[in-house]
C-alpha cells in the first residue's frame, strides 16, 4: 500500500511537471507574431521575420516602451519554440502575413466637381505588435481605423484632383494614332499611379503610430455614380455618330478625288495623244510635200537606187497633169456639161481638117 501511494504521488508530480512544461512551451509559426502578457503588462514581443518589419526601429520602440513603463520587455524575432511562465503569462497572437483592407466604396467629389464612386483596397502588415496591441487591441478595431485613415486621405487627395487625373496614369493617350476629340486631349499632371503613391505615403505615415506598415493603397474602381451613366452614354453615342459620319464623308471625299483624278488623267492622256498624232501627221504631211516637190530616192533591195523626180522638176507639166486629174475628179456622173463646138476637143466635130491648113 505504501509503495502504491508513493507511486501515485510520483505519477501526479510527473503529470504536474508535464502539464507545466506543456503549458509553458509554445510554438510561433512562420505566419505568427506574439506578445506575452504578464498580469496585463507585456513582457515579451516575438516579432515576425517579414520583410516589412523594420527590426532596428522595432527594437528602439520596444526599448523606449521599457524605459517609459519601467519594465523590461524582451524582443525576439522569427518562428520557433518559445517558453513562458505557465498560468501567470498569457500569449496573444498576431498575424505576420500581409493583410487586406477593403473598405466599402466611397462617394467623392473631385477637384472639378465631378462625383465619383471610389473603391479602394490596401495591403498592410503588423510591423510593431506591441504598438498595435496598445493602440488598437484587436483586428476589428484595426480594420475600422485603417478604413478611416485611408478613406479620409483618399477624399482629401482626390478632392484636389481633376476627374481625368484619377482615370489616367500617363499621357500616352495623347500620342496615340487613334483619333480622339480635341476636348478630351487633356494633358494630365499627376495621374492615378502618382495619386495612389501619394495616398499610400500619407496613410503609411499615419498608420505607423498604430504599429501598422501600409504596403500600398490602390484605387480599384473609380467610376461615375449610376445616375450619371446615362449622360455618359449619350455623350458616347453622339461621339460615335460623329465618327461614323466622318468615315462616310472621308470615303466620299476620297472617292471623288479618285474619280476626278481619273477623269483628269484620261483627258490629259487623250489630249497628249491627239497632240502627238497631229505632230506625227504634220511630219508626214511635210515629208509627203517634200516628196511631191523634190521626189525621193527609191531604194529597192537587190537593185541600184533610182532617183525619182518630183513635181518641181517640171512645174509646167505638173500643172497640166494635175489639172487634168482635177478635172476628172470634179466631174461626176450627175454633171451636165454644155460644150461649145469651138473648144479644142470638139473642133474636129465641125471641121475635121482644121489644123492641117494652118
Amino acid at each position: 500500500m505504501k509503495s502504491q501511494i508513493g507511486l501515485i504521488i510520483a505519477g501526479v508530480v510527473a503529470l504536474f511537471i508535464f502539464i507545466v512544461i506543456i503549458s509553458s512551451a509554445f510554438i510561433i509559426t512562420e505566419v505568427d507574431q506574439a506578445i506575452i502578457i504578464q498580469l496585463g503588462r507585456p513582457v515579451r514581443v516575438i516579432a515576425g521575420d517579414s520583410a516589412f518589419t523594420d527590426k532596428v526601429e522595432l527594437k528602439k520602440s520596444v526599448e523606449e516602451y521599457s524605459s517609459q513603463s519601467n519594465s523590461n520587455v524582451k524582443l525576439s524575432f522569427g518562428a520557433g519554440l518559445y517558453f513562458k511562465i505557465p498560468f501567470l503569462q498569457q500569449i496573444e497572437y498576431f498575424e505576420d502575413r500581409i493583410l487586406e483592407s477593403d473598405a466599402d466604396p466611397a462617394r467623392i467629389t473631385t477637384g472639378d466637381q465631378k462625383r465619383i464612386v471610389v473603391d479602394s483596397f490596401a495591403r498592410w502588415h503588423i510591423a510593431n505588435p506591441l504598438k498595435f496591441r496598445q493602440t488598437l487591441v484587436n483586428m476589428p478595431t484595426a480594420l475600422n481605423r485603417l478604413d478611416n485613415i485611408i478613406r479620409s486621405e483618399l477624399r482629401n487627395r482626390l478632392g484636389e484632383c481633376n476627374f481625368i487625373e484619377i482615370i489616367r496614369s500617363t499621357n500616352q493617350l495623347l500620342d496615340t494614332k487613334i483619333e480622339i476629340p480635341e476636348q478630351k486631349k487633356v494633358s494630365i499632371k499627376i495621374g492615378r499611379s502618382k495619386i495612389m503613391e501619394d495616398v499610400t505615403k500619407v496613410c503609411r505615415k499615419t498608420a505607423k503610430d498604430f504599429g501598422i506598415y501600409i504596403i500600398d493603397v490602390r484605387i480599384k474602381r473609380a467610376d461615375p455614380p449610376e445616375q450619371n451613366m446615362n449622360a455618359i452614354y449619350e455623350n458616347m453615342k453622339a461621339e460615335r455618330d460623329r465618327i461614323a459620319e466622318k468615315y462616310r464623308a472621308e470615303g466620299a471625299r476620297q472617292a471623288t478625288f479618285i474619280t476626278a483624278n481619273t477623269d483628269r488623267q484620261v483627258k490629259i492622256m487623250r489630249a497628249e495623244a491627239e497632240r502627238d498624232a497631229q505632230i506625227i501627221m504634220g511630219q508626214a504631211d511635210a515629208e509627203a510635200a517634200r516628196i511631191y516637190a523634190r521626189g525621193f530616192i527609191k531604194d529597192v533591195t537587190g537593185q541600184p537606187p533610182i532617183q525619182i523626180h518630183g513635181f518641181e522638176s517640171d512645174p509646167e507639166f505638173f500643172r497640166f497633169t494635175r489639172s487634168l486629174e482635177a478635172l476628172e475628179k470634179s466631174i461626176d456622173n450627175n454633171t451636165s456639161l454644155i460644150l461649145n463646138t469651138n473648144s479644142d476637143l470638139l473642133q474636129f466635130m465641125k471641121s475635121p481638117m482644121s489644123g492641117i491648113n494652118n
Binding site: S50, A222, T256, A284, G310, S336, N340
Partner: protein
C-alpha cells in the same frame, strides 16, 4: 440495464486482483514484447511520423513553426506532429482568377455569370467599356505563397482588377475594343507582376487574357454603326478605284488608237506621195521623149473619161449658149440636144 452496469466493474476488479496476478507474472516476457510492439504501433498511428507528397506537389516542412525544408513528391519521414507540420501545395496546378465574370467550375460548358461591378469601367477618353479578363497563374515559391499573404487568391483578384482598370483608363476606347489588346495585356501583366513582387506573393503569372471587350449595351448600336461606316468608306473608295481601273485602260486604248491612226495616216500619206511622184516621174519621162503627142494624148484621154456617160449639151458657137440659158435655165439635165440642134 442499470444493474448490469453497476455490477460489472466490481467483478472485474475482484477477479483481476486475486486470480490473474500470477498469470501476468508468468507471461511477463512474451506479453511485454507484444505490449511493446502494440505501444510502438500505437505511437506510430497516433503521431504518424511519415507523409507523402503527391505528383505536382511539394512538401513544405515546418519544425517548431519554423521553415525547415522543402521536399519533392514521394514518401518522407517527419518528426511527430507538434514538432513538425507539413503543407503540400500543388505547384504544377494551373490556377485562375476571373475578373468581370465567374465561370461555372463544376460545369465548364455552362454559361458564365457576369459580374457587372467588375467589368464596367472608364477608358482614358472618358468612355465606358465592358472588359473581362482571366489571369492564369501557378505557385512559384511555395514558402512565400504559404507564409507571406493572408488570402492569396483575393489579393491577386484585387491586384488584377486595379491593374485592368489602370491600363484601360490609360487608353482610348478604340484601343481596348480592337487595335491594341495585345499591348494592353502586356501592360496589365507588367503591373500585376510589379505589385506581386512588391508583396512577395510567390506566384508566377503565366498569362493575362483580355476576354471580350465591348461597348455597353445602351451604346452598342452606335458602335456598330461606326463599324458599318468604316465598311461604307472602304466600299465607296473601292468603287472609285474600280472606276479608275476601268477608265484608265480604256483611255490607254484610245490613246493607242489615236497614235496608230496617226501612224497609218503618215504611212499612207507618204506611200501615196511616193506613188504619185513615181507615176509623175514615169509620165514625165515619156513626155520628155515626145512632149507634143503625150500632152495631147493625156488631154484627150482625160476628156474621154470625163465626158463618157454624162449628159451633155453641145452648143455650136458662143451665142448658142446664151440662147440655151434663156430658154430653159432650170432644165439643164433634160435630153433636149436634138431640139436645140434643130432650132439652131
Amino acid at each position: 440495464m442499470s444493474d448490469w452496469f453497476e455490477d460489472l466493474p466490481i467483478e472485474v476488479v475482484k477477479g483481476g486482483k486475486k486470480k490473474e496476478l500470477p498469470d501476468f507474472k508468468f507471461n511477463w516476457r512474451s506479453g511485454g514484447i507484444i505490449g511493446l510492439i502494440a505501444l510502438f504501433l500505437l505511437v506510430l498511428i497516433v503521431f504518424q511520423p511519415w507523409f507523402t507528397v503527391g505528383p505536382g506537389e511539394v512538401g513544405v516542412v515546418l519544425r517548431l513553426g519554423k521553415m525547415n525544408r522543402i521536399v519533392s513528391p514521394g514518401f518522407h519521414f517527419r518528426l511527430p506532429r507538434p514538432i513538425e507540420t507539413v503543407y503540400t501545395p500543388n505547384i504544377r496546378l494551373q490556377r485562375r482568377v476571373e475578373i468581370g465574370f465567374r465561370s461555372n467550375s463544376n460545369n465548364p460548358g455552362a454559361t458564365s455569370r457576369d459580374v457587372a461591378a467588375e467589368s464596367i469601367m472608364l477608358t482614358g477618353d472618358e468612355n465606358i467599356i465592358v472588359a473581362k479578363m482571366i489571369i492564369q497563374y501557378k505557385i512559384a515559391d511555395p514558402a512565400k505563397y504559404l507564409f507571406n499573404i493572408y488570402d492569396v487568391e483575393n489579393t491577386l483578384t484585387d491586384i488584377s482588377e486595379a491593374a485592368l482598370r489602370q491600363v484601360i483608363g490609360d487608353y482610348p476606347i478604340e484601343s481596348a475594343l480592337t487595335g491594341q489588346r495585345d499591348q494592353l495585356q502586356i501592360e496589365i501583366q507588367k503591373i500585376i507582376e510589379e505589385i506581386s513582387d512588391q508583396y512577395e506573393i510567390g506566384l508566377l503569372i503565366d498569362q493575362v487574357q483580355l476576354q471580350e471587350t465591348h461597348a455597353p449595351d445602351p451604346v452598342e448600336p452606335a458602335f456598330a454603326d461606326v463599324f458599318n461606316a468604316r465598311e461604307d468608306q472602304a466600299r465607296i473608295e473601292r468603287e472609285a478605284e474600280a472606276y479608275q481601273n476601268k477608265e484608265m485602260p480604256k483611255a490607254e486604248g484610245a490613246v493607242r488608237k489615236i497614235l496608230q491612226e496617226a501612224a497609218s495616216y503618215s504611212a499612207e500619206r507618204i506611200a501615196k506621195s511616193k506613188g504619185e511622184v513615181e507615176r509623175f516621174s514615169a509620165i514625165l519621162k515619156e513626155y520628155e521623149n515626145a512632149p507634143q503627142v503625150t500632152r495631147q494624148r493625156l488631154y484627150l484621154e482625160t476628156m474621154e473619161k470625163v465626158l463618157a456617160n454624162k449628159s451633155k449639151v453641145i452648143v455650136d458657137s458662143d451665142d448658142g449658149l446664151l440662147k440655151l440659158l434663156n430658154v430653159t435655165p432650170n432644165d439643164l439635165g433634160l435630153p433636149t440636144s436634138l431640139d436645140r440642134k434643130e432650132s439652131n
